[in-house]
Amino acid sequence: MSNKEHMEGTPGQALPTGSSKVDFSSDQEVRWCPGCGDYSILKQMQTLLEQSGRKKEEVVFISGIGCSSRFPYYMDTYGLHGIHGRAPAIVSGLRSVRPELSVWMITGDGDALSIGGNHIIHLLRRNVDVNVLLFNNEIYGLTKGQYSPTSPEGAVTRSTPMGSTDHPFNPMALFKGADGTFLARSMDRDPKHMREVLARADAHRGTSMVEIYQNCNVFNDGAFEVFTEKATKAANTLFVEHGRPLVFAGGTKGIKLDGFTPTIVDLTDGKHAVDDLWVHDERDGFKASLLVRIFHDPRVEGGMPRPFGVFYVHDRPTHEEKLHAQVQRVKQTKGAADLDALLKGEHTWTIG
């Protein structure tokens, strides 16, 4: 871990801009630390929007507090940088009154899972139509290096010099438990995969939850190295695709379901074939519950590779669809607003 101090407002390395037609980058200087994984996410987000053909004015970014939450300032769209943990609530209010906008929420592991833990589960349960990018770096960056609710047990940080004794969240399992309707994971070091996942998230109606492993090179450098570096990536990651068997390690290994227990099998030992493997069905909620539970340290004996990709997609009416359908119904049965009738109420009497 680098000990380099990160001061608020330290100018960072400017993002090299592409040659796209509509530029979604704002005129504000990007101020993340040089080498931060956030740059990659910003770049993919801008590229996605540029390719989507969306009008800038229809897009809104809402964030909480933390390094990731500065994101809205760097987009030439509408943006609201809120308060710590409350972006889901701000989003819920905005979506309730403006269902036609494209709303994106930017949050981090501390913002979404610690101080905003209550709001995030309710956002998912209500299925508010928003695309959530959860930048998970397993550390508090902006407050300079304390452990987060996703830091592994034993993590040595500024606030846990002898190692963290807290058990971390498995974010995807939490989100599945809250009945999230779109669950996906990607990483900053795989831009192509991230862009594909973000495009899927954008297409989904409802709360699209995308967890992005993002390296904090200042306070938690290399936290996801085992998943992102060329030498170890293939053996320790499992990229799932709808309708495809769960294979990894360059096609040499796979995962089959032994009852309810996912088991690693060797596809080269002559005893197992691809046909034996668990075939990913992103519409299967029961299997998704198992998939999100694959959350081991793959370096530990018997550990499973970490899944990436779109885990679960479920079509359920959104919060705002139901809300507006009800308002419409009431307007039909009760008639249009008549303020005089409202003020008059049901019982009146006359004097004089």
Partner: protein
């Protein structure tokens, strides 16, 4: 209804009457009280009510903790409070007597349900060692009328198929019928109400009608009562009236405001006593473009309202003290964003959970000062149930026209209390004009758009997501003047703190000149009130003026910023008295702002002032 009088009874006229119905929280006392209120209002009396609920939903039956009360003051004169001491106390059991006897005037009528005074009820009420207030002389200074309501109700319902428990539930209608008789009112309105309420339950309808009628006949035939009373109509201004509680008034004021601004209304709220009725009322009116959002907590309630305002709706949240405390950080955000937002605090007894079902005015400092950094937010207060409508409307006006959060203070006393309302016509309410700006052509650059460029009142424009060419970023971090971009520049910060404060201070420019509620334009004592103490102070001040005392009364609606005329007004009296249901919060604000030697008169009991207490307070100060 047709009744045959066995023996003519005399009728005495009263100018005004205070009656308190009290019983177990399951006795239906609130219904008895509100029905009798409606009958009197319809008759033309001026009325004011105050329900008093236990904190627990169903506290142990027969105990003091479970006593529910409904106080009604009605008269042929102007009525400003639910009344001080009661002329009539109706108690359904021993606990209700023990809890409320202190409120009955000496010589007042005490009507008791004897069935509620058996050994068990006496013990539950805390009468120990076989003490029995009915026989031990406790009640010798009152006109006691013992009525076995339970037995009489059961007798009246003989022949119905109802079970004993259901029959006993009709006791409240027996009492209502009897009180109607006692005050020379008819049962007609109550009958119509029951027809509607039990339209689908003919057996219950029949039983309740019978009990109501039996109560009335009991008055007619009983030997216990030799006199009836009558209260003639009050000289109320001509017009069409309805009854309204403070919380209803607040809800309607908010909707009216949204309608006059042609905006949808978003209400984010978390249930809390005594503010929940605003949520209940608003959720009934979705055809007015009202979206109600029962949030996961108080913080989400206000944050969702901020999101809605950001999207161009009128964002509103309400709560009571503990909930407002939770909303504090988000209040700062709304202030910093300079976005319209209305925050209603229906105050209750504090601190912490405090006295949820009791009233207090102890959140004034919280409203005026309770934020980190320098974050002045306009604070206004309602003084009566009707005034809740007017002040909620004004809160919307200020929030939308000045791009600021506004705190509206009411309290449990006026929120639950009701009075007759000569409601306004929609056309007579002012149109509200938020500072919207036109969009540019789609696809055009947002370069040059300044989201924090202020007009001559210091107000910024309200650009909405979706408007082309006005894309901008806002947030809680200190922003550069005009552009809204993040800025850590020291001089800019000081400039922004001052600009935001100045904007809020200038809201006072829109206030009407300050006006005395009553009394001479200069003199001995000025009584300065705010909020729900209005009725008690007005009543006391009018009485003292009638006695030739030099007392004036001004009631503040604007607590931050103050009305510009307040400072000069305070100088025109030798003494200033500030009655409050707290330890002196407005008094301290007045002293700090105007260097005036304001004296406090304070009651911190979770109960409103009586006008008698205020009168004594004023006289004490005058004689000092």
């Amino acid at each position: 209804m047709s009744t045959t009088s066995l023996k003519p009874k005399s009728v005495e006229t009263r100018q005004n009457v205070v009656i308190l119905f009290a019983g177990d929280s399951g006795d239906g006392i609130q219904l008895t009280g509100s029905q009798f209120t409606d009958t009197n209002a319809l008759f033309g009396n001026d009325v004011s009510t105050f329900p008093n609920f236990p904190a627990e939903i169903r506290a142990p039956q027969g105990t003091i903790a479970g006593v529910s009360g409904f106080q009604l003051h009605f008269g042929s004169v102007e009525i400003w409070t639910p009344g001080d001491q009661c002329d009539v106390l109706v108690v359904m059991n021993a606990a209700a007597l023990k809890a409320n006897l202190i409120k009955l005037k000496k010589g007042g009528h005490l009507i008791i349900n004897t069935d509620g005074f058996d050994r068990k009820n006496l013990r539950l009420a805390g009468y120990v060692d076989d003490a029995d207030p009915l026989t031990d002389g406790t009640l010798e200074h009152y006109a006691l009328h013992s009525v076995d309501v339970t037995k009489l109700t059961r007798t009246a319902l003989e022949g119905t198929t109802l079970g004993m428990k259901e029959k006993d539930r009709c006791k409240n209608m027996f009492v209502l019928g009897f009180i109607n008789w006692l005050y020379s009112r008819e049962n007609a309105l109550n009958e119509a109400f029951l027809q509607k309420k039990f339209a689908k339950k003919p057996e219950l309808l029949d039983a309740n009608l019978k009990a109501l009628s039996a109560g009335y006949f009991f008055g007619e035939t009983s030997e216990t009562f030799t006199t009836r009373f009558e209260v003639k109509p009050a000289p109320m201004p001509q017009g069409v009236y309805r009854s309204i509680t403070g919380n209803q008034g607040t809800a309607l004021g908010l909707i009216a405001g949204a309608q006059k601004a042609k905006l949808d209304l978003f209400y984010g709220s978390y249930p809390i006593t005594p503010a929940s009725e605003i949520l209940h009322e608003l959720s009934r009116h979705k055809n007015f473009g009202v979206v109600t959002f029962q949030a996961e907590d108080e913080i989400a309630a206000i944050s969702s309202a901020i999101g809605a305002s950001y999207g161009g709706a009128l964002g509103i949240t309400a709560s009571s003290g503990p909930g407002i405390a939770l909303k504090t950080e988000a209040l700062g955000l709304a202030f910093m964003l300079e976005i319209p937002l209305v925050i209603v605090n229906v105050q209750r007894g504090g601190p912490s959970t405090g006295l949820p079902t009791r009233t207090e005015q102890a959140d004034l400092w919280q409203a005026v000062h309770g934020r980190n950094g320098e974050a002045p937010i306009p604070v206004i207060a309602a003084s009566t149930p009707i005034d809740c409508f007017d002040m909620a409307f004004e809160a919307v006006q200020i929030a939308l026209e000045h791009m600021t959060p506004v705190i509206l203070l009411t309290d449990g006393y006026i929120a639950n209390g009701s009075e007759p309302w000569r409601f306004p016509a929609a056309k007579d309410l002012a149109a509200i004009h938020p500072p919207f700006i036109p969009a540019k052509e789609s696809g055009s650059s947002s370069e040059g758009f300044l989201p924090y460029l202020r007009d001559d009142r210091g107000v910024r424009p309200w650009a909405l997501p979706g408007q082309a060419g006005l894309q901008h970023r806002i947030g809680g971090i200190e922003k550069q003047d005009r552009t809204g971009n993040i800025s850590y520049d020291p001089a800019n910060h000081e400039r922004m703190v001052r600009l935001r404060a100045e904007k809020v201070a200038r809201i006072a420019d829109r206030f009407k000149p300050i006006r005395l509620d009553s009394g001479p334009p200069e003199g001995e004592v000025l009584v300065v009130g705010w909020g729900s103490t209005y009725g008690a102070i007005r009543t006391a001040a009018l009485r003292l003026q009638g006695e030739g005392r030099s007392v004036a009364h001004v009631h503040l609606r604007h607590l931050f910023p103050f009305n510009k005329g307040l400072g000069p007004l305070l100088q025109r009296y030798r003494k200033v008295l500030v009655p409050e249901m707290n330890s002196g919060q407005l008094r301290q604000l007045l002293r700090a702002e105007f260097l005036v030697d304001a004296q406090g008169f304070n009651k911190i009991q979770g109960m409103p002032f009586t006008s008698e207490e205020i009168r004594d307070g004023i006289l004490n100060l005058m004689d000092r």
